[in-house]
């Protein structure tokens, strides 16, 4: 099996998912992991595909032309072997919520601190909410902490960012339980 990453984005309307997946189905593509969501007024799709024979972009020919005709942007990336399996990420999981009046640099400042401490961000969503004159920025992220870093360490670290950025930040541990 060869694997591909496919991203598609375009103005949201009903029918995008079925149009895309019909093409994939007709080409004999398997959809493995995928995540699709509305961002702003755009519908964004990210999919990991598997195909038993296709080896690269050219194997798909002009399969995606009908999508481009209806103003969807399509990008296909051929994965190197092993690029489809997610690594076994070991470590404590924590969820960080950051919110406050909108200003430049919230995402950068927070993620820079995390990156410097080798914290692995595994999920990140941001949204601009509130009214036009009082915009509020909300960021939710989930991260895996490296060995030796505790949720309390992250809390400490966020305390000074909270001061600096004048935003509210909360950090909580997530413990998956096997039942």
């Amino acid at each position: 099996m060869n694997h591909f990453a496919l991203t598609i984005i375009g103005r949201d309307r009903p029918g995008i998912v079925s149009q895309v997946t019909e093409i994939l189905f007709n080409h004999g593509c398997n959809i493995a992991d995928s995540s699709c969501s509305i961002l702003g007024g755009q519908f964004a799709m990210i999919l990991i595909l598997a195909h038993p024979e296709y080896t690269g972009r050219e194997s798909f020919g002009d399969a995606f032309a009908p999508l481009e005709e209806v103003e969807l942007s399509v990008f296909l990336r051929t994965l190197k072997p092993g690029g489809e399996t997610h690594p076994d990420i070991e470590g404590e999981i924590c969820m960080i919520s950051v919110y406050g009046s909108d200003k430049p640099g919230i995402v950068y400042q927070v993620t820079k601190e995390l990156g410097e401490r080798k914290v692995n961000i595994t999920d990140l969503n941001t949204k601009l909410v509130g009214s036009a004159d009082k915009p509020v920025y909300v960021m939710m992220l989930e991260a895996v902490l490296p060995a030796g870093t505790s949720v309390e360490d992250i809390e400490q670290m966020m305390k000074h960012l909270k001061q600096e950025l004048q935003v509210d930040i909360s950090v909580r541990a997530i413990t998956p339980v096997e039942l």
Partner: protein
């Protein structure tokens, strides 16, 4: 006494509604022992329901006393025959995984505190009030008796890609 194999989805027994245990069922005690043995063998998991070992009867065992989250607040080893939740209160979200659905976890909302009645291993009617992790574990195991998996109750999909810590 035996450790039994944990049934993994898509085994159809996991989606069946289990039968009430009859008063004259003499196999129940052996079933309870198998559930306890299987639970302990699985790295002391916190609970096992009968359908998870291939028996379609309303029996579960739960024991959160060995887990970090349940250590402070528990009833020890609970063996529940024909259990029924008669009161639910509050709300608690936990990221659940299940031995019958490997390599997948999801956030599930459940009652934070429950009153549950059941027959114990000796056939005595019991009513207990469970809360926090123990309440979540009981609700998860009781769902198995109705053919429900945590996948039927998951409240968020996007962060469910992690393997659980063994």
């Amino acid at each position: 006494m035996a450790v039994r194999e944990i049934r993994i989805y898509p085994d159809p027994i996991l989606k069946e509604v289990c039968a009430e245990v009859e008063a004259d069922d003499h196999e129940v005690d052996a079933l309870i022992q198998d559930l306890v043995d299987t639970m302990i063998d699985a790295g002391h998991s916190v609970g096992v329901a009968a359908p998870q070992i291939g028996v379609c009867k309303r029996v579960v065992v739960v024991d959160v006393s060995n887990s970090k989250l349940g250590r402070e607040n528990n009833h020890g080893l609970l063996t529940m025959v024909n259990p029924e939740i008669i009161r639910r209160e509050g709300n608690k979200t936990m990221r659940e995984g299940c031995m019958s659905v490997p390599d997948y976890t999801g956030n599930v909302d459940r009652a934070e505190s429950i009153v549950v009645q059941f027959n114990d291993r000796d056939g005595n009617r019991q009513v207990i009030n469970a809360s926090d992790f123990e309440a979540v574990a009981i609700q998860h195991e009781l769902d198995h008796l109705d053919g429900l998996l945590f996948l039927d109750r998951v409240s968020s999909l996007k962060t469910d890609i992690f393997r659980r810590k063994k």
